[in-house]
């Protein structure tokens, strides 16, 4: 790639970056050129090496080979502090702020305003308030970070990175947990930063967003650069083909919901004070119920209540007409419920355990410790799901925390599918999953439904909900506000349902 796409010299030019992990070549001779004043999308499947590249560039990982030039000068950041000093601000894939500090402390960690040798706390809080106001956040910066939702935390992380970046701003999947409105807000910020002449690296699996904001893209596949292109000259299809190395079959838009079976789960006035207003819901076999709502509307709470993560203090649940009591997840698993949680890092993976053990964990827990699953059976289950879900890994023995984010998500799905559940609850099943896998998961949900499973799926992606739901329940402020069925299920209707009473 010798032809220059823009006349300027790159602000950051990384060449020949390689990174090896045991059993994996995560990056192989990767080149990345960032021009001043451009938004550069970094694209690729799950496990393609995007996050690893970012970590190598910012000194969080030591690279095995390669050079980095900033404004023509060779640089060697060996720690994130180094790269920050060089003017590279970064938001890593998972929110990386400190839950025990206040918002302002997080925002200013390492560069607090000082007076007379001491941190000027009041000034810090004032400045933090001012900075956040620029992002449309009117919150008290002296409150602890955890007082605010994940979305707000994400915005704070972005604000921190923007404040730190003098030359380059790197955002690794910043929009995964953001709503539409918040995404727009973020785009405004990116445009401002771009106007200041910074180079912005933007990683996401949402191609719409890529095309909405980015100028150029570098596409990675299996740790190699497969191309660098000007997005104005490309279509989404071209990009997908580049990423996957194959064509993605166009999906049939027609929704085929089929006949639903008998009522499987009846939920009556289930609720918990201080957490979720009582709600009722019936789910039949062969039915996918979608849960829609804004961030913080209570989708996760709904799922958690049903699964007994938080024991409900009122209401009842019946399974096939019989009342059952679910006081904790163990009861739920015993009744063949399954919940694939939203926050895979905290609620999902058991990081140091092997991928194999992670996959059979729930099944083993249900069988009890007295009846271990025989080795051969374990191997068979694990292998079959790795194949079925196309989980990319070096070996089944590797600790699951070493998998890329999207592959962890698939492994968790495998864990619950292995229990052969009657009722499967999925909370944001496609968060952080690449386009190819996204389509596969949607296909999988339809397959499971067709096989007669009952599913409850919470998601922020309306198109996705529309694609697979037989019914959609809309939540707002932790209350059920609408239920949409059949042809009512369109993105617009859902948005309307979410928004209507907003004025009230």
């Amino acid at each position: 790639m010798t032809d220059t796409l823009t006349p300027d010299a790159p602000v950051l030019h990384a060449r020949g970056i390689s990174k090896f992990f045991p059993g994996t070549i995560a990056l192989d001779d990767v080149e990345l050129r960032l021009m001043p004043g451009e938004v550069h999308a970094l694209l690729g499947e799950n496990g393609a090496g995007k996050s690893t590249l970012i970590k190598c560039l910012t000194g969080a990982y030591r690279r095995d080979a390669g050079t980095m030039l900033m404004d023509g000068q060779e640089i060697h950041p060996v720690s994130t502090a180094d790269s920050q000093r060089l003017g590279i601000g970064t938001v890593y894939q998972e929110v990386n702020l400190l839950p025990n500090l206040t918002v302002a402390e997080n925002l200013f960690l390492g560069r607090q305003p000082m007076r007379g040798g001491f941190i000027a706390r009041r000034r810090m809080n004032e400045e933090a308030r001012a900075v956040l106001a620029g992002y449309g956040l009117r919150i008290d910066p002296a409150e602890p970070l955890t007082a605010y939702s994940v979305a707000i935390q994400q915005v704070i992380a972005i604000a921190r990175a923007v404040e730190m970046s003098g030359k380059v701003l790197i955002l690794d999947e910043p929009t995964a947990s953001l709503d539409h409105d918040e995404v727009q807000l973020l785009f405004d910020v990116i445009r401002q930063v771009k106007a200041r002449g910074l180079a912005v690296v933007f990683i996401t699996h949402f191609l719409d967003q890529v095309f909405a904001i980015s100028d150029r893209a570098t596409v990675l596949r299996n740790g190699r650069v497969v191309g660098e292109c000007l997005l104005a000259e490309m279509t989404q299809r071209d990009v997908v083909t580049m990423m996957l190395g194959r064509q993605l079959e166009a999906r049939t838009k027609a929704r085929d919901v089929g006949p639903a079976g008998k009522t499987l789960v009846e939920i009556d006035d289930l609720g918990k004070r201080g957490m979720m207003a009582p709600f009722s819901l019936n789910i039949r076999e062969g039915e996918v119920v979608g849960l829609a709502g804004l961030l913080g509307s209570g989708r996760t709470e709904t799922a958690n209540l049903i699964f007994g993560v938080e024991p409900a203090d009122q209401g009842r649940i019946a399974l096939r007409g019989q009342d059952i009591s679910i006081k904790n997840p163990r009861d739920a698993v015993a009744h063949r419920f399954a919940l694939c949680p939203e926050d895979r890092k905290i609620d999902g993976i058991v990081g140091d355990l092997s991928v194999r053990d992670n996959i059979i964990l729930a099944l083993q827990a249900r069988q009890g410790w007295m009846r271990p699953i025989p080795r051969a059976k374990v191997e068979e289950i694990a292998q079959s799901y790795v194949r079925a879900l196309d989980i990319r890994l070096a070996s089944l023995d590797m600790p699951i925390r070493l998998l890329s984010g999207g592959n962890q998500q698939k492994a968790l799905l495998a864990r619950w599918l292995a229990t052969n559940p009657a009722f499967l609850i999925l909370d944001e099943p496609t968060r952080g999953i690449d386009v190819g896998a996204h389509a596969e998961i949607i296909a999988l949900i339809e397959q499971l439904r067709a096989d007669g499973m009952a599913l409850l799926v919470a998601s922020s992606e309306l198109e996705e909900l529309v694609a697979y739901s037989t019914r959609v329940v809309v939540l707002r402020d932790r209350q059920q506000v609408r239920e949409l069925t059949g042809d009512q299920i369109t993105p617009d209707n859902i948005i309307n349902a979410i928004a209507t009473e907003e004025v009230a």
Partner: protein, 353 residues
């Protein structure tokens, strides 16, 4: 000791190789200060020799570290084991002094230890008190309870059955050796032949996830502390039987630190997760070999602690993940030491609970 069913891991031998090497070095040191170290003869109806002493004297720590390994695997720690030893010894002694048989005494001591373990387990699993603080309570109060039982004196007894547990022999082999070998084998077997081992590791690594996967983490946690209490009770009985008396003030004093050290020398992480009981047991033998070097060397006792500290430091440095990585690097041009995927979870990385 056993093959595994669940959680297949690289062969047991490979896991414990570093510990074996260190043990060999420690024994070699013994030979260096005392050439007849390996000499074993049969005297007075029992095997007699330094090596037997290492195995025999290592018994209390070996027993403690069986339970401690499980506790540490759940990301916990049990500081109370020394005090529980004292309680169990005191209970056993007072029961035989009251004229009951040794079987009753053993059962009573185990019951007392179990109760202590249960208490710890409930504090940790139900009241959610951090393990180090929760067990600190019993560490402080437990010795008082033991003294309450013995009324502050050394309770001497001469029940031959009970004494046999600590000072007797079976076919010439001191009973404590057989007890810890048997218990070690039993617990390893139970933990690895069933799914318990994997489930314990899971809650140690990420308790929340494990609970959500349907694991009964509370009961498991309580059980683990219970086992630790039982192991401590057994160790306490052996120590009391060995000296034919329950010394509430001194029995098991600071042994919790030795047990924790044994587990760490066994290559188990204090942050929970993967564990190997066999490696911990070898760790206990390593510590006892170091003690043996000190005793056999004939140096003045002022130097005991310095020697022990230096030897242990050396052992741990050799085992440090960093050094391991460098060795790995020498062998194959592999990866450098570096952070793993960033952990954004609020669970703390660096804790010693």
């Amino acid at each position: 000791m056993t093959s595994q069913t669940i959680g297949p891991r690289p062969s047991v031998l490979r896991r414990i190789l570093p510990q074996l090497v260190i043990l060999a070095v420690a024994l070699a040191l013994n030979v260096a200060v005392f050439p007849e170290f390996f000499q074993i003869d049969f005297r007075n109806g029992r095997l007699f020799g330094n090596l037997i002493d290492v195995l025999n004297r290592g018994a209390p720590v070996a027993l403690l570290c069986i339970g401690m390994t499980l506790v540490i695997a759940t990301k916990g720690i049990d500081l109370s084991v020394g005090a529980v030893m004292a309680i169990a010894g005191a209970v056993a002694a007072s029961v035989v002094v009251d004229g009951h048989g040794w079987g009753t005494a053993l059962l009573a001591a185990l019951a007392a230890g179990g109760l202590c373990g249960l208490w710890n387990g409930l504090l940790v699993a139900v009241l959610r008190i951090q393990p180090i603080v929760a067990t600190l309570v019993l560490m402080v109060a437990g010795r008082g309870i033991a003294q309450l039982v013995t009324e502050g004196k050394i309770l001497t007894f001469d029940n031959p059955g009970l004494i046999h547990l600590g000072a007797g022999t079976v076919a010439g082999v001191p009973t404590p050796i057989l007890i810890w070998l048997a218990l070690g084998a039993l617990v390893t077997f139970v933990v690895r032949k069933t799914a318990l081992g994997m489930l314990i590791e899971a809650i140690g690594i990420n308790e929340r996830s494990s609970r959500l996967a349907g694991i009964n983490s509370r009961v498991l946690l309580v059980c683990v502390y219970l086992v630790s209490g039982l192991c401590a009770a057994l160790a306490g009985v052996i120590v009391a039987a060995d000296i034919k008396g329950a010394d509430a003030n001194n029995a098991g004093l600071w042994l919790e630190l030795d047990a924790i050290l044994a587990v760490v020398i066994g290559g188990n992480s204090l942050l929970g997760g993967r564990f190997s009981i066999i490696a911990s047991l070898i760790g206990a033998l390593i510590i006892q070999s170091v003690n043996s070097v000190i005793l056999l060397s004939g140096l003045p006792p002022e130097f005991n602690l310095v020697i022990k500290a230096l030897l242990i430091l050396g052992i741990l440095v050799i085992q440090s993940p960093r050094i391991g990585n460098y060795i790995y690097l020498l062998k194959a041009s592999g990866p450098q030491p570096e952070p793993d995927a960033p952990a954004s979870s609020p669970t703390k990385e660096e804790t010693a609970r």
